[in-house]
Subunit: 363 residues, 2 copies
C-alpha cells in the first residue's frame, strides 16, 4: 500500500501575475494578513522586519522579490533592467546576514539575469519568475524528502520506543519557514501521519516563533503541541520524556557546525548530557561549504529593543524592564558539529564526523 502524502494546510506565501503575497508572521497567531510586496525594497523590508522569516522561506521570498522587481522594471524602465536587478539583489542580501539560503537564492537569480542579457525585458522577467518558482518547488520537494529521511532515521535510532513520541523543537522550522511542509516540523508531520506524536515547543523569546508560529501551524494541522518557556527545555530533556530534539538551521558550515536560532546550542548540550538524539533538519541550500566552521558564520545581532518590549495587538508596546537598562540580542548561536547526532537533508543523513558526511552529500 503506498504511503499517503504528507501535507499541511499552512501556506505562508503566494505568487501569481507579478503579485507576491507574504503572510505577515508578526501578526500571527491573532491575525492572518497577507502583505503585498510590489518591489524588491518592500520584500527586503518584509525580510528584515521578520514579517517573513525562516531560512528556506526568506530564500524563496527574496527570489520572488527579484521576480516582482523584474516585472516592475520591465514595465516601467526596461533600459534600467540590469542595474535595477543588481541593486535589488544587494538590498535583499543585506536584509539579514545569517541564513545562507538568502544569498544563495539571490545568487541563483542573478545568474538568470546574467544568462538573459540581450533578451527583451519582459522575457527576462518571465525567466526570473520561472527560476523563483523552481527555487520554491525544489524547496517544497526537499522538505518532503528530508522529512521522510529524518522520520526513518529517528525510527531506527529509537528502536522500539513506545508511542506517543514526544519531540521537542525550538523556533519555527515548519511550513511557515519553508515553501513546503517544513524541515523539523516536516519530520514531525511525517511521523504524525504514521502514529501518535506530541510536540513540546519552546516559546523562543523574544520573537516567540514557538508560541506564535509553531503552536499555530501545528494546531492548524491537528498535531498536539504544548508550549514551554525556553528555560524549561533542559529539565524536560533530563526528565526522559523527550524522544528527540529536532530543529532547523540557518547555515551549516563545512565541518557541520550549525547556526540556528539562539537557544539551539543549549538544547544540544542538554541532549548530549542525557543521550537524547539532537537532530538538525535542513535542505542542502542551507549548507555553506565556503564557511569552514561556525566561527566564520556571521551572527545577526538584532536590536535589544526587541527584547525589552512586547508588542500589543493595538500596535502599542509593553516595556518589560526598567528604563535605561539595555538588552543584548544575538539572534543565532552556533552548535558545534560534535553535538549534532544527525544532519538530515533531502540528499541523505549525515552522521558524525560531519565534515565527511556533508562532503559526501554535496558531491
Amino acid at each position: 500500500m503506498p504511503e499517503s502524502p504528507v501535507s499541511t494546510r499552512v501556506v505562508p506565501w503566494s505568487y501569481a501575475g507579478g503579485r507576491l503575497l507574504l503572510l505577515d508572521q508578526r501578526l500571527l497567531p491573532h491575525e492572518e494578513t497577507f502583505l503585498e510586496c510590489e518591489s524588491a525594497v518592500q520584500t527586503a523590508e518584509a525580510i528584515r522586519s521578520l514579517a517573513v522569516r525562516g531560512a528556506p522561506l526568506i530564500g524563496v521570498a527574496a527570489a520572488f522579490g527579484l521576480a516582482v522587481e523584474a516585472r516592475r522594471v520591465a514595465d516601467r524602465a526596461p533600459g534600467d533592467f540590469d542595474a535595477a536587478l543588481v541593486l535589488a539583489a544587494e538590498r535583499l542580501v543585506a536584509a539579514r546576514p545569517t541564513a545562507v539560503n538568502l544569498p544563495a537564492a539571490v545568487a541563483r537569480m542573478r545568474r538568470v539575469v546574467e544568462a538573459t542579457v540581450g533578451w527583451p525585458a519582459a522575457g527576462r522577467a518571465a525567466a526570473l519568475e520561472r527560476e523563483a518558482g523552481a527555487i520554491a518547488a525544489e524547496d517544497s520537494q526537499a522538505c518532503l524528502r528530508l522529512s521522510r529521511l529524518g522520520a526513518e532515521w529517528l525510527r531506527r535510532r529509537w528502536g522500539g520506543r513506545p508511542a506517543p513520541l514526544t519531540l521537542l523543537t525550538h523556533c519555527n522550522a515548519g511550513a511557515l519557514a519553508t515553501a513546503g511542509i517544513g524541515t523539523a516540523l516536516g519530520i514531525v508531520r511525517t511521523l504524525a501521519r504514521d502514529g501518535p506524536v506530541a510536540v513540546l515547543a519552546d516559546e523562543t523569546r523574544p520573537f516567540l516563533q514557538g508560541a506564535r508560529l509553531t503552536a499555530w501551524e501545528l494546531k492548524r494541522d491537528g498535531i498536539p503541541v504544548t508550549l514551554l518557556p525556553d528555560v524549561a527545555a533542559a529539565a524536560m530533556i533530563a526528565s526522559g520524556k523527550v524522544a528527540a530534539v529536532v530543529v532547523g538551521a540557518d547555515r551549516i558550515a563545512a565541518n557541520g557546525d550549525v547556526a540556528n536560532k539562539v537557544g539551539t546550542y543549549g538544547l544540544a548540550l542538554a541532549c548530549r548530557a542525557h543521550a537524547v538524539p539532537f537532530v538538525v533538519a535542513a535542505p542542502t541550500t542551507t549548507l555553506d561549504r565556503t564557511c569552514p566552521d561556525g566561527r566564520s558564520i556571521p551572527i545577526e545581532i538584532r536590536d535589544g529593543e526587541e527584547v525589552l518590549f512586547v508588542p500589543t495587538r493595538a500596535g502599542e508596546t509593553i516595556r518589560l524592564a526598567p528604563e535605561g537598562v539595555p538588552a543584548l540580542y544575538p539572534a543565532f548561536d552556533v552548535t558545534p558539529a560534535a553535538l549534532v547526532e544527525a544532519i538530515v537533508t533531502e540528499r541523505g543523513v549525515s552522521e558524525p564526523p560531519h565534515a565527511a558526511g556533508l562532503k559526501a552529500l554535496a558531491t
Copy 2:
C-alpha cells in the same frame, strides 16, 4: 584600612507594630507599591501569587505573617491562639512547595508557639515578633557573610582575570529575594565595591524576575546590568566573556543537588562545557539534609497561563499563543551537584564532592 560595608538601597519589606508591608514584586519595575498583610492568609496569598518571592525572603515573610496573625488573634480571640497559629502555619507552608526556607522558618516560629504555651497571648505574640525579627536579622547577616566568602572564592578562582568582570545571573537572588543584600547579587555587590563589575541578567521567563527585578535593583544600586533573552545565555558563556555564573537556590539536597529557578540547569551545563565557574550562593537555611538528593525535592508546577499571557500595566493580559494551546510551567529545575563548582554559604564554601562539603558546613 577597614573595608567599607556593602549595602543596598533596595528594601522589599518592613514590619513594625503589627504591620507587615511587602513590596509587590508583581508590579516592579513600573510601580513601587507595598502590600499590607493583616493576616497569615493574606501573607500566604502574597507568597503564592509571587507578590513576594525569593527563597530566603518568603521564609522571612512567612515568619512575619505568623507574627501578624499572632497579634491579630491575641487582640481578638486569645483563647484560639494555638489553633489559629497552627492553621496559619499550615496555610503558609502550603503556599509554595520548593523553597525549603519557607517550611524551615515556619517550623522555627512553631517552636516558639510551643515554647510559650501558658503565657499571656500578647506576650506570645511579642515572642513571635522577636523570633521573626531574628530570622530576618540572621538572613541579612548571612547575606553579608556569604557574599564576602563568595567574592573571595571567585577572586581566587579567577586568579588575575582582568577587569571588568562580567557575571551572569538568572532569576533574582538579590535584595528582593532576601532580608539583606542578596545571595548571588550580594556577591555581585561585594565585588562591585572593590572594582568594575558588569552583570548579564537572564530575563527569566515567564515571570521575568531578571528583566523586572534584577535589572531594577542593580540599576538602583548603580551596578551596570544588561538583559539577555534566556536563550542567549549559553552563547554568551561560550563566547568567553562571562567570568562566572552565580545564582541563588531554593533548596539544596544533602548531596549538593540544587533546586533553583527553572533554567539554572541549562546554565550549569553550559558552564561545564566551557570551564566557566558555576556558583550557587545560599544561606544554610536553604540546605535540606532531609532530602538525600534532587529527586526528593518537590518541584512546583505553576499554571501554564503564566506562560501564555503577559500582564499589562492596565491590569489586562496579552495572549502570546493561539487559543487552545496549553503550556507547561515547571517553576524550578535541579542541577546535579557535580556541575556546581562552589556552594557558597555564610558558614563557608563547599566544593565537590558536596556531600562531604555540605556535611562539614552543617556541623
